[in-house]
Symmetry: C2
């Protein structure tokens, strides 16, 4: 691999000039900067990041904590964050929290020990106080935590759009299917927006918490529906959950989600594969904004504490072909 | 955060002993090691990784290059690799290659500049010679490259199982639907296994290359089928591709993949959501083995150049409910 000496030779300058250019580019003549950058590019030269980190007290590494990478929404967020990091010359270190608070705090400590310049958190658990105590720039994605800047979608409007879509499909008593979540999850706004819109239309709705990672999930839903025959549509709190429950109910010979109107949330490719109407979060924008806000925070600038991005409804067969009218 | 001094105090030993324990644990008494480890755990202490890396010439970081994290198979591989890294005390740095050779080589250089101890490659492009020239431990996952250890599934058997499944569903002339791939992709073994089994049953098959990321993919498949009315089943070269093409053909009003028997490949959750028979790769095991082989290579040990893991057929509605018998 090329060294700083190779770059200096190729650019026709001294090693000291190359070094100065990397640490304080503003004190080097613009045409010299250009010459050196050209030489670096031609030689595929990347500075020794670790040595530089000790010099500049910056590692150029951003940490990202997700429950699991492969869980639909987080894979897309990771994609977006990696793209944005790369564009700004940062590297991405990814850790799993596995939905366990202790593991999450271990990962936070590990990332801090690795001298990340900042952290992005899409975690499920964890005490906001512990993050505030870290003395490290942090931005939360799809979560709201006290005194930590967050980037979320407009969950309240998303819930309202979902309700409107089900009402338009003829539903008079939809069921919200969700999972148990801590209070700081922005999901609560989603449910509030949904319920408000249903009430304004002088309709009613029910709510059930189902853990689709348990094998009896389909049975639990079937039992609930037997006891509540008034349910005539579903608002599923996430595409992945909707996909799991669709599969589980079919396997049990109770294709409940194939018969009534369904609106899901997130806007993953998955919802398209299943022809399911969904409220799409602007996932790529959320990842990009989160990185940009984090980089501003790393530079000590003031940043917005709450960034709420627009959602949209993608209408598909699960509402347009199953009208209750 | 806790310092090495806090750990020493809590464990009742000197700072020098803690330092010795971290760098050469075998020269410290086992009971002292235990005492120090207990203190570290209680204090949530992680050594300053970067300073240690300069001392030991190791960063404790593994690099992973994937085309995109969110593309089905790679998200699951990333999960498995992160789990294994974490278990062995390594951190994971992830980069996208975006299916572009230049970007891939940039990411390789970047990871090397970040002093990763080794690299895992699940990339789509790239010249094996360039990897061999790197002087860095590398293991390929789901790829075979000259002189680089690889971990793949048993693609030949996988192809054979797919053919057997379609034959059992009554197919007499299945169509292989694949995408253009470079010669070093292990996918070729998959096709060879499929074709051999079809030939042994004295049947015939066709093959078509379709890029499902282009909007006209569904039309191309429809055109091919019009010209080849003998086609009576599909072997899809990947669950994600199968899901995309199922959606695209439905959207065009040509639900081709819903009518004939279909066998896919990979074994992602996606195939279950779509009730699609698939040949499942042991993705979690592949990720774990790749990390273990890489760690052995980092330690200078001899490692197997080819590790081929077992596949299995998961039978679902796309073959069991659409028999051609």
């Amino acid at each position: 691999m090329a060294t700083i000496k190779d770059v200096a030779e190729r650019a026709g300058v001294s090693v000291a000039t190359v070094s100065r250019m990397m640490n304080k580019p503003d004190v080097v003549k613009p045409q010299t900067v250009k010459k050196i950058q050209k030489a670096m590019k031609e030689l595929n030269y990347y500075p020794d990041v670790m040595a530089r980190a000790l010099q500049t007290k910056r590692s150029g590494i951003i940490g990202l904590i997700v429950p699991r990478i492969s869980y639909g929404l987080f894979a897309r967020i990771a994609d977006a964050v990696e793209d944005a990091c790369c564009q700004h010359g940062f590297r991405l270190m990814i850790c799993h929290s596995e939905y366990e608070e202790q593991r999450e705090m271990d990962m936070v400590a590990l990332l801090k020990a690795n001298k990340v310049d900042g952290m992005l958190i899409c975690s499920y658990v964890g005490d906001p106080e512990k993050y505030n105590a870290l003395d490290l720039p942090i931005v939360a994605i799809d979560r709201e935590m006290e005194r930590i800047p967050s980037v979320t979608c407009d969950n309240v409007t998303g819930g309202a759009l979902a309700a409107q879509e089900l009402i338009a499909a003829g539903c008079r008593h939809p069921l919200i299917v969700t999972y148990p979540v801590p209070a700081y999850m922005p999901l609560h706004g989603r449910l509030a927006g949904f319920q408000k819109t249903i009430a304004e239309a002088q309709l009613t709705c029910s709510q059930v918490e189902i853990d689709t990672f348990r094998p009896q999930a389909a049975r639990e839903l079937a039992d609930f529906l037997r006891a509540h025959p008034e349910v005539d549509g579903f608002f599923m709190n996430g595409d992945h959950m909707a996909a799991q429950l669709t599969q589980q109910t079919r396997a049990e010979g109770l294709p409940l989600l194939d018969q009534l109107p369904v609106v899901s949330f997130d806007g993953l490719d998955l919802s398209g594969f299943l022809d399911m109407t969904t409220i799409a979060q602007p996932i790529e924008d959320m990842g990009r904004y989160a990185v940009e806000i984090l980089l501003q925070k790393i530079e000590g600038k003031a940043v917005p504490i709450r960034s709420t991005l627009e959602v949209k409804c993608i209408r598909r067969g699960s509402t347009s072909n199953r009208s209750n009218h």
